[in-house]
Symmetry: D2
Subunit: 407 residues, 4 copies
């Protein structure tokens, strides 16, 4: 058994198949992928990696197995899936996942191949574990898949506290031990035991506060959009294909962007934190449905048109239309008065949070600082935004503004 010191969970004991998997290149590669990608440009301490997060998820899964009383092969499967659940991530984690998905059809939790091949495949088979079964757990299949990837999964419990620890934003501070102890299976369904409606709500609320403050912070969104754009350029201009891109780590991608003439200007901007600025920052109500449904090609065309009219290079205009917010936790299951209920039915907070998230949704158009006014006006026209007079973008000020001014 190996013991590893973690800044969040203190001593983590790695046992069974997990110990054998630990030093494979597939798992060690996660040391080189930042958990929060470009969020580090807003919160400089947020340099934690998918590796330490994977150890944390393994640890919480193992704790949950112990509390629920699952042992033997079943436990080994869950431990393997927990440690391996993020090996499918590309460089900068979720930041360019939309891009690699568009080209490869695969998201990060599609790990069938990765688990079947190489050292990992060998170790799993040596331990009498079926790689395809483990990949299924990673994708959330079956009863035990709920623990690894579901509404009440240990993945979320780890990342909220870990991201809080490393950003310094306290909102993610949940009571993981209490959550772990409240988990139980009823008829094959993972639920929180009686008396834990607030425990479930606390998980939901933590995410609701971390979302705008950390994960969707404007500077994080802008830098992520720039990175995605530059990475696509890399695919188009070099021999690197999307499958290779997906297997890179942060170092590989950053150096490739620096060394490719077509992406060097992005690399320079990134290195000196000269990011694009908001030309438009518009609420959901002002955005026409057609734009919400536009596909990637249509958005690219709009960007070109705007750039043309503004007489600046097409690479200097980014239109970002985020997906509408989801709230997976709303289907968390809690026992209330002996009955299993959906958290969304039990707690009035769930629908309020959904509304709140829609209120936080923003369409963003980004461009060079000196062109924001011009591009803002042209983009409003081209995108058909029905903005109130004179309002093309909010400015965020007050305390937080200082973090923004730092943009």
């Amino acid at each position: 058994m190996a013991t590893i010191k973690d800044s969040v969970h203190d001593h983590i004991e790695i046992e069974g198949v997990a110990e054998a998997l630990l030093d494979t290149p597939t798992v060690q590669r996660l040391r080189h992928i930042k958990q929060l990608g470009t969020v580090q440009l807003v919160y400089p301490s947020a340099n934690h990696t998918r590796f330490e997060h994977s150890l944390g998820v393994y640890h919480l899964a193992n704790r949950a197995l112990g509390e629920i009383g699952i042992e033997g092969r079943q436990a080994e499967r869950v431990r393997a899936a927990a440690l391996l659940h993020d090996v499918g991530h590309g460089p900068f984690s979720h930041n360019i996942e939309e891009l690699t998905h568009r080209y490869t059809g695969k998201y990060h939790d599609d790990v069938d191949e990765l688990l079947a091949e190489g050292e990992v495949g060998g170790i799993l088979r040596d331990h009498d574990l079926d790689p395809a079964h483990i990949a299924g757990l990673v994708a959330g299949d079956g009863q035990f898949g709920q623990l690894v990837s579901g509404e009440l999964d240990v993945d979320r419990m780890d990342y909220l506290v870990r991201d809080a620890h490393h950003t310094g934003v306290p909102y993610g501070t949940i009571d993981t031990e209490r959550l772990i102890r409240a988990l139980t299976f009823v008829d094959g369904e993972l639920v929180l035991d009686e008396g834990n409606v607030q425990t479930a709500e606390s998980l939901l609320l933590a995410r609701a506060l971390m979302n705008p403050t950390v994960y969707m912070h404007p500077v994080a969104r802008i830098s992520k959009a720039m990175l995605r754009r530059a990475s696509e350029r890399l695919l188009n201009e070099t021999a690197i294909d999307a499958h290779q891109l997906r297997r890179m780590d942060d170092h590989d991608l950053l150096v490739a962007l620096r060394n490719t003439p077509e992406t060097q200007s992005f690399a320079d901007r990134y290195s000196s934190r000269r990011l694009l600025k908001k030309a438009i920052w518009a609420e959901l109500q002002h955005v026409p449905d057609s734009l919400l449904e536009a596909d990637h090609e249509e958005i690219r065309d709009l960007e070109s048109t705007i750039a043309n009219r503004a007489d600046i290079p097409a690479t200097d205009v980014i239109v970002e239309v985020p997906d509408e917010p989801t709230m997976r936790e709303s289907t968390s299951r809690v026992i209330v008065g002996g009955e299993i209920r959906n958290l969304g039915d039990q707690s009035p907070l769930v629908s309020a949070l959904r509304t709140a998230q829609q209120g936080q949704w923003r369409l963003g158009v980004y461009t060079r600082r000196e062109a924001t006014d011009r591009v803002g006006r042209l983009a409003a026209e081209e995108l058909g935004l029905e903005l109130p007079d004179g309002l093309i973008r909010e400015t965020r000020r007050g305390l937080h503004a200082t973090l923004d001014d730092f943009e």
Copy 2:
């Protein structure tokens, strides 16, 4: 200037009039009043006092004054009010406040007399401060009263983080520095600056989670009801009157309860943590309006009737009808798009939290463990509760249950 080391805010510097006030008996008395009263029976580490909380409130008020740019006499007034804001508390803080208010007409923030008399009055006048003005600030009067006692006051900011630190429940962990930096005055009104809707919501959510988990935990409610009952007995059976009671500290009250024959059995129960148990724990929807509006006498009569019918001493039945939950933060003012708005109008969470709090409301009937079934049935009848068949009390189980089993 004095510097004091605090476990929450690290080094606190006490300056100006506050330093002179620090060593008065009026302020030092707060060392002997627990911040959370009987909550310590649920969370054993919750032994922090009104004294350290008052230092924390002073510290945050002083930080806010610095950020907003208020100096001179006005600042001295706020510093004095912040340090003195809790000197009106009786033993066990809020636990017996309803009782002393019933007999004296005064709540803890009614400090006119206390600030005018004795050493405190002398020091205030020596510093050219009017005790009545400071008492007004403590009560929330005027522009600067909002800082000390209002919807966005520093009192709440301190107690949430302090109670989290000492109970070990992480839900109160808010970002006090960010809140302090977001405070500003517009036309004499205390508001949170642009970009801080989530900052305001975080304060609201922290309280919403701490409430059921800490402040209104069933064991805390039961022990508090028992303490209030015993303290009233003390008033009725001894020469101690309510004005004296209000000036006691925790030691005085506990020893008086131990030494008075009529309250000794409470003292014994308290000392060995043999608390009464829930006979009824009923939701708001099952409670008739007449009961919600019943006054103290009517409740006492109902208790007697139930006890008589159950053939146990009247002191062994407690009916507790909490007030309906309020949410002062809903009128917090935030700047959105240059306009001052009510948080309640801006955030869908506010009304959802109000609904959630009503869902958490419970009427409690408490009695000796061996009589809970009998008393439960009789009380349901006498109180006119329209309970679903067979349901007279919820039992809380799961993880939290272990804390309850410890009851």
Copy 3:
């Protein structure tokens, strides 16, 4: 099994005999005894109690049993001893222990009677545990007594981190999990396993830094001396005897001191923090051996003589001659290269810390603020101190001074 939330160790599970012992008056009484007595006058957040410390010691002992692999009856005995190890403490913990020992011959770890009688005795016998055996463990007897009271005991591990958490002084922050995992028995002796010389040193260093900063802070020493003096007066002037005093809790003692005319002036001073001040603060090298060996009566005579000559009441002069510092950890046993060695032989830090502690040793003479100069000069004469010219007391200034000015 009960689960309790602790601010230091998070969730603590109380099992076996410990759960049965938890709600006895003997254990619950510890809720009313502050861990650090009057240290709270220096560090206002230091209000934690012997109860939460006892839970922490129980928790660490239980962890150690699990790591070492001890089960069954032997484990039950250690759990009982850990939870009960401090029930012999009088009010204000160690503060008046010297006094009660002088009158009763008993220290706080002399718990034979307490464990044999009442509910505790009954529960122990019901669990087939011999109260005398458990009392022996508390006193450090036998192989397993080393875990509860020895050079490497879990008592120290808990109090260092707990005192750090509650005072805000970070020096006590040790790595308890690593220590627990390093503990092992070799030939019946508790030792730290190979590779843990620094682990052992860290425990030693933590105590070496907490000592002068917290436990022996001048204000703590002065207030403790005043409390001891007042408590002795209580024994002399009232019907309370030392056996009763030892069984009081903090509330009982404080109220008794308030209500006894002869001790009321102490109670007033304590309530408004008007403590005596240093008249002399002298290093070990300046104190004659005869004074170091003087017994209680001789010291009392010296105090009277000094007070007489200074023409102030005898109660206003306190001469405090601390014991010479000890360092129990120096005999901690560590495995180095397969051999068991004494830490004191292995680590050059041990003797250096012993020298450092002797450098920190101070004789104190305390009196009213206005009499410090006069009493200082007279005391130097009467006590035969060979002080360098003009030096009767150090003043501590700089940052820490602010904590002292607050005296």
Copy 4:
């Protein structure tokens, strides 16, 4: 003024020239250099960077300036020097500094050129600051250089708490606020004010415990030695010269090592954490003086000879002879009884810690796992080690061993 959220110091305000310097490529580059280099292979959470550390050093320097009362140009100079103090670091911080120094004659604090050129030079001159003067402060010159680089510098205060936060090892937890408040200048010399001997000792002790546990952990030493070896190979086999190497960041170096055939095997080992193992781990007393004085060439020759005799490639044997430990803090100056004294003269701990550090010193010989025995024996011969019979290397076991087993 910009405000940045830091996970250690919370909100950091960047003012004056520091704000202008923040977004230069020279400073932003530090985002891509890990503070602790390969220590991340032992403590997976230790991914913090020189950028956040530089912000922390800036913050503490600014706090110290405020406490001491230094303003205007002098303060601007110190702020600039604090923010810029680490811009001279090469990839992986200190890990390959010995190598680049050997080739370029420059250490990381030799920043004259870097501060004179480019954006940084322009900004400094625009603020009427002389780049050469600022570089002098970084090197520790003059009165104010002591704050940035000296025995009591804010650099150390930041890295100890930051490394503790990110590794999870609590030993570095010092009281930075107290240290900052104790700093003062007397006759141009930076000293700790009266009453702060323990404050000074605490800094010393923190480093003494962090050293073997973190900075000199065997796995960190081995991986660092491997990295240095591979980097030297890169200089020898490619067009990259040492000046270029020194200006790379972690990404550049890692990718260069991956893409160069001669260093690819290192890159593979690093990526899958298949590090070399200890063949010898010998105490100072067993090492001949001649070896301690051997220069780089002599060591390389010895490695070749050992590898030849063992019949393995020369790249698979590393002999590491660390410098003898120093203890800069021993000349920290503290005021005791009104006099300025050297901490080393005042505190018996200083010389004890020096002895302790010499006891911790180890010569290391590293090779492939399967060759450790053979290489160990041959190396003992070639290096002339006078080892006790049979002892060629210690094995560290016990708790810590688990971290080692993870090697």
